[in-house]
Amino acid sequence: MLELKGVDTSYGAVPMLRGVAMSVRPGELVCLLGPNGAGKTTTFMTVCGVVRALRGKVVVMGKDMATLGTENLASLGVGLVPEGRRLFPSLTVIENLRLGYDAVSGRGPDFAAQLDKMCTLFPRIRERLRQVSGTLSGGEQAMVALARALIGEPKLVIMDEPSLGLSPKLIGEYFEITREIHRRGTTILLIEQNAEMGLGIADRGYVLVKGKVAQEGPAKELLSSKAARSLYL
């Protein structure tokens, strides 16, 4: 569903990713780990087509991102949760969700049914639907951002550091929901700094250090590997 082959990117003259190769297969939950500045968000932005690969290839849902704009990802069935949630702050919760629904869906179940589904998955959202999203708490914003990515029933969801800034209690809740979404059949690429939590629910993992994949393998192995722990802890 997602493949990066020898991807190099840079911000101006500063190289960010160097020969990154990774993949996400259908039905997997893959966790991309790394310390601050490792290039995790750059990887997210490159996969989304916001940052262009200088070398190598990014293939999403069988399409080469070199010829595909960011705006086409949603219609291919890709839901995105950017770093820092990035809800549209002046829009209400329901308007944010509507945009997520229109982006991916179009032909699927109607919006009201999907909205109800999201409110069942994230009960706090129901009472906030008419509230301007910029006034929500950080935890609520995180839930709305995830619901916005899920409401169109995407095949692949890519999440960039969703736990950032959440309280430990909320982080646990958030990862439990992510595990549940995966269990229902959605493929997920989870980009995370919280290694214990991320690898705890993932099938496979990659450790990114200074723009390079330093280690990869099954999540359980990475979690117990001393070499891997020394890289991300």
């Binding site: 916001v50 219609s75 995105l80 950017p82 929500l136 708490s137 800034g165």
Partner: protein, 305 residues
């Protein structure tokens, strides 16, 4: 005294509505593209020339008087200016949406000069002022002994109608929702499948068509139009948008009313105020930029964790 106050009140509201319509275009474009479109006033002021040209051409070709053809020429000019706005965005302005502000400023100022010079050279006797008729004439009603013209009523009704339509469009249609989303975060909007080009096209069409309406009312209010009226119309509209808060629609309306209020107050209560009215207006703009750079209703975004 009461008559004078009522008369000035009518003038204030009429002028305030025209400035508000001009300011809305600046705010809408800035909100979506983050570019200050300094040639917006010039684009708006092409509308009276297109109207006059069309009405003259129709009168020559099909007979009847020029004023009789205004009914057809005015909506056609508004449509044409909307399309001109879309074309200018596609050819010039869009290229500066991510460029440093200075580049966009120079480019849009240059574009304004190009528009003015084209009017001057392409329109017959384009350097001269051209009489522009009142779109409607006669007195509609009387308030405290002051006759209120149909034109003043038309300006108010048109402004209320356009602002309401814009509000409904932005709040209640899928395209309006996409425009609002793109104005908040263009990258995430693209992640939501929103196509920049469609949003920009719609924004420029709406802003330019509303600007054209303001340009027609401006010329009709003055009774004359000239190739360089766009400079003053643009400055006043931009100032109104800045005072209200660039990017804010209610701010644009408030800014328009404030600027018109100052103009009318200066003309009424200051000796030789008509000559000094712009001094007061632009002193206020400077004061707002110093003490409240985001404008009176400018947006502030809270970030919560």
């Amino acid at each position: 005294m009461a008559e004078l106050l009522v008369q000035q009140l009518v003038n204030w509201i009429t002028l305030g509505c025209i400035y508000a319509l001009l300011a809305i275009g600046f705010s809408l474009i800035f909100g979506v593209l983050n570019v200050i479109h300094f040639s917006h006033g010039d684009v708006a002021m092409t509308a009276p020339f297109i109207t006059l040209g069309l009405a003259q051409a129709l009168a020559t070709a099909l007979g009847a008087s020029i004023p009789a053809w205004l009914v057809l020429a005015v909506p056609l000019a508004v449509l044409a200016v909307g399309l001109i706005g879309v074309l200018l965005d596609k050819v010039v302005i869009r290229r500066f949406r991510d460029a440093p502000a200075m580049m966009a400023l120079v480019a849009t100022v240059a574009l304004g000069i190009v528009i003015r010079e084209l009017i001057r050279h392409l329109y017959p006797q384009g350097s001269n002022p051209h009489a522009f008729p009142r779109l409607v004439s006669g007195m509609a009603l009387e308030i405290s002994g002051v006759a209120v013209s149909w034109f003043a009523l038309l300006v108010v009704v048109l402004t209320v109608a356009l602002v309401t339509m814009l509000f409904v469009f932005l709040r209640m249609t899928p395209l309006g929702l996409r425009i609002r989303a793109a104005s908040e975060d263009r990258i995430v909007a693209r992640m939501m499948g929103i196509r920049d080009a469609r949003v920009f096209r719609a924004t420029f069409f709406i802003a330019s068509a509303i600007g054209a309406t303001a340009g027609l009312l401006f010329a009709s209010y003055a009774g004359v139009t000239r190739f360089d009226f766009g400079v003053m119309a643009g400055l006043l509209g931009f100032s109104a948008a800045v005072i209200g808060g660039l990017g804010s629609m209610p701010g644009a309306i408030l800014g328009g009313l404030i600027i018109a209020g100052i103009e009318v107050l200066a003309q009424t209560f200051v000796t030789d105020g008509a000559s000094y009215r712009l001094v007061f207006v632009f002193l206020l703009v400077i004061a707002v930029l110093i003490f409240r750079p985001a404008g009176l209703l400018g947006r502030t975004v809270m970030e919560k964790v």
